[in-house]
């Protein structure tokens, strides 16, 4: 029997009130994050991947509304009071975003930021916090943490800042780290380094949700991958199976779009067309207009999720299975 999930999302919907009607950003997602795993959530801009987790943390924009359920260790997050969400964000879930300068204050020294992040809320004493900060800076691969303590964010490189932001998110000892596009703004070499840090944290037992638009980066880090398209999860599978034999045509197309060093250098296979806009009313499968396998049924009815073993996909015409887990 599988372990109880750390975060259990069910029937989650996120909508925004906007001029000209309601925008549906997340259209009903069920997803479990298991303790100790790294779950990658992959999707293109507008797929709802970030809003899904921002909704869980009560961080939607003013005009956003979330319905459905998201339970963190049994505690319902959706619709819970702001005070409770603050505890969740402050201590139980760490969040790292694309731009580390969102997390770091430019005029405070690194050490002070890390320490005060927890002492301000009385989570630990100054000496405890200092010891933990030094330990975490070491864990995220910052050379000579003692001397970094006295530096300001602008004295660090982008990759170092991102690793400091990860250390800061981990200061209160959260059970879950949500990393939203943590490597998108970084050079490839630095990206490799940050991914290595995530891998090590995961090996140390941390549960991680890695949100990204780039399937290539998740291959070496994630245990399972959820692929989102137009506000729904279209496929969820263990990483090896998903890459070797995806069932959903969108996953296949995304995999084929990745420029590779080891493939013929002639033509890249993109995905023609574009995802539906947030205003569009979706009938049937949202991917159908761009899908080479699409049949009439796909344009009429929304495919229900089907499961086999560890994998789930939502497609009327799934690709044949070539892989068994």
């Amino acid at each position: 029997m599988a372990q109880a999930p750390l975060l259990a999302i069910d029937g989650l919907r996120v909508a925004f009130d906007a001029e000209g009607g309601t925008l549906q950003a997340v259209r009903g997602v069920a997803l479990d994050v298991r303790p100790g795993e790294c779950l990658a959530v992959v999707g293109e801009s507008g797929s709802g991947k970030s809003q899904l987790f921002l909704a869980c943390l009560g961080l939607l924009a003013e005009n956003g509304r979330a319905t459905g359920s998201a339970c963190l260790d049994g505690d319902e997050l959706i619709g819970s009071p702001e005070a409770q969400l603050e505890t969740v964000r402050g201590a139980r879930v760490g969040l790292v975003s694309q731009d580390p300068m969102n997390a770091l204050t430019p005029h405070l020294r690194i050490g002070a930021q890390l320490v005060e992040y927890v002492t301000d809320r009385g989570l630990m004493s100054r000496s405890q916090a200092r010891a933990r900060a030094l330990e975490l800076l070491g864990a995220v691969g910052i050379d000579d943490p003692e001397s970094r303590f006295g530096q300001y964010p602008h004295e660090l490189s982008g990759g170092q800042r991102q690793r400091v932001a990860i250390a800061m998110a981990l200061m209160p000892g959260p059970g879950l780290l949500v990393a939203d596009e943590p490597t998108t703004a970084l050079d490839v070499t630095v990206q490799a380094q940050v991914l290595q840090v995530l891998r090590r944290l995961r090996e140390g037992g941390l549960t991680i949700v890695l949100i990204t638009h780039d399937l290539a980066v998740v291959a070496g880090v994630a245990d399972r991958v959820a692929v989102m398209y137009a506000g729904v999860v279209v496929e969820l599978a263990p990483v090896a199976g998903l890459f070797a034999s995806p069932r959903h045509p969108y996953t296949r197309a995304l995999l084929d779009s990745i420029p590779r060093l080891d493939a013929p250098a002639d033509r890249l296979s993109g995905i023609e067309g574009q995802p539906p806009g947030p205003h569009e009313r979706i009938v049937g499968c949202a991917f159908a207009p761009r899908c080479r396998q699409a049949r009439d049924q796909c344009r009429r009815s929304e495919p229900a999720p089907q499961a086999a073993g560890e994998s789930v996909w939502a497609c009327h015409a799934p690709l044949p299975r070539g892989w068994t887990t």
């Binding site: 293109e44 801009s45 050379d143 490189s157 982008g158 990759g159 170092q160 050079d187 490839v188 070499t189 630095v190 990206q191 490799a192 380094q193 991914l195 290595q196 891998r199 638009h213 780039d214 399937l215 290539a216 980066v217 291959a219 070496g220 880090v221 990483v239 090896a240 890459f243 197309a253 995304l254 995999l255 779009s257 990745i258 420029p259 590779r260 060093l261 250098a265 002639d266 033509r267 890249l268 296979s269 993109g270 995905i271 023609e272 574009q274």
Partner: protein
């Protein structure tokens, strides 16, 4: 031998140093004496991390920053911003596409107006009928539906804006198209569309391409030759196949190794074998090879004596004291 389309000789560009520590009059070099040539109809990729001087190179080629030393030559003519007539001609023949697809379009102009503006400014075409005809041909060439011509940039997706920027750059049939990280801000599926589009336009018009990117995998799809820049210097320049199959410089190898492998088994294997080359935190060396602080192969000589570019065979050059000792069997 024919004159290269674009030639850079001993190009040095310095920026005035700012900040607390910088003395008045002190300078930061962004490019340290660069030599490059691009022939008509050919494609050259420039690869490197942030701060390597990629964008400064683009700005110098366009005549937007003045070299401190050396020169940029356009079809044999030394670029001189005082010669307005020649500059004007050069700017028609040399077009640019930038990274940020929204930032490079005027938000107050529709997509069609933006493209027509290029035609008016560079070719003086103002009559409605020929403008309309050329604009719709340019839209078709970049795979944009004609109905999008009346939309404003904020009504378009990132990929569509980038297509508009490409239409605007190519409507005047330039001899050289410079692309500065044109796909870095785009989703992977859209990135593939744009890379394919650039390849098609190149096949159709035989436009030369200078393609700047930090992503080697993308460069491999578009460029016949690749130059790798590190802290303002070329550390390796080679034809595509020799660069990707037999990279000579340890930095090129580090860049290749850092491209994420979309294969879970391979990625896991590689992460275990990951070399410290990737660490980007160390400061550049004061003397010696600029890459030596990060280089897993650096020896004492590398820290003292700066390596010069030397031929490594197959038309490739590399600046490394130890390239001969690197195993030739490549990136397994």
């Amino acid at each position: 031998m024919s004159t290269p389309l674009l030639e850079v000789r001993g190009l040095r560009v310095e920026y005035p140093a700012r900040g607390w520590g910088g003395r008045r009059g002190s300078v930061v070099p962004a490019l340290h004496g660069l030599d490059l040539a691009l022939d008509d109809g050919r494609s050259l990729g420039i690869v490197g991390e942030s701060g390597c001087g990629k964008s400064t190179l683009v700005r110098s080629a366009l005549g937007l920053v003045a070299p401190s030393d050396g020169e940029v030559r356009w079809r044999g003519w030394t670029v001189d911003t005082r010669d307005r007539a020649r500059m004007r001609q050069m700017r028609r023949e040399m077009q640019v596409v930038f990274q940020d697809p929204f930032g490079s379009l005027d938000p107050r102009l529709t997509a069609g107006e933006s493209v027509a503006e290029a035609l008016q400014a560079l070719e003086g075409v103002t009559d409605a009928a020929p403008t309309r005809q050329r604009v719709s041909a340019a839209f078709a060439a970049v795979g944009l539906d004609a109905s999008l011509a009346s939309r404003y940039p904020h009504e378009l997706s990132g990929g569509q804006c980038q297509r508009v920027a490409i239409a605007r750059a190519t409507i005047v049939r330039p001899r050289l198209l410079i692309c500065d990280e044109p796909v870095s801000a785009l989703d992977v599926s859209v990135q593939a569309q744009i890379v394919n589009l650039l390849a098609e336009l190149r096949r159709r018009d035989r436009t030369a391409l200078l393609f700047i990117s930090h992503n080697l995998a993308v460069v491999r799809h578009l460029c016949e030759e690749v130059a790798v820049l590190y802290l303002g210097r070329i550390v390796e320049r080679a034809p595509r196949d020799s660069l990707f199959l037999a990279p000579r410089h340890p930095y090129t190898r580090a860049l290749l190794a850092a491209v994420p492998d979309p294969d879970p088994g391979e990625a896991a294997r590689r992460s275990r074998a990951e070399s410290p080359t990737v660490v980007a935190d160390r400061l550049p060396a004061a003397g010696g090879c600029p890459f030596s602080p990060r280089c897993p192969l650096a020896v004492d000589r590398c820290r003292i004596e700066p390596p010069e570019l030397e031929s490594t065979g197959d038309g490739a050059v590399a600046a490394c004291h130890r390239w001969r000792e690197l195993p030739t069997a490549q990136l397994d």
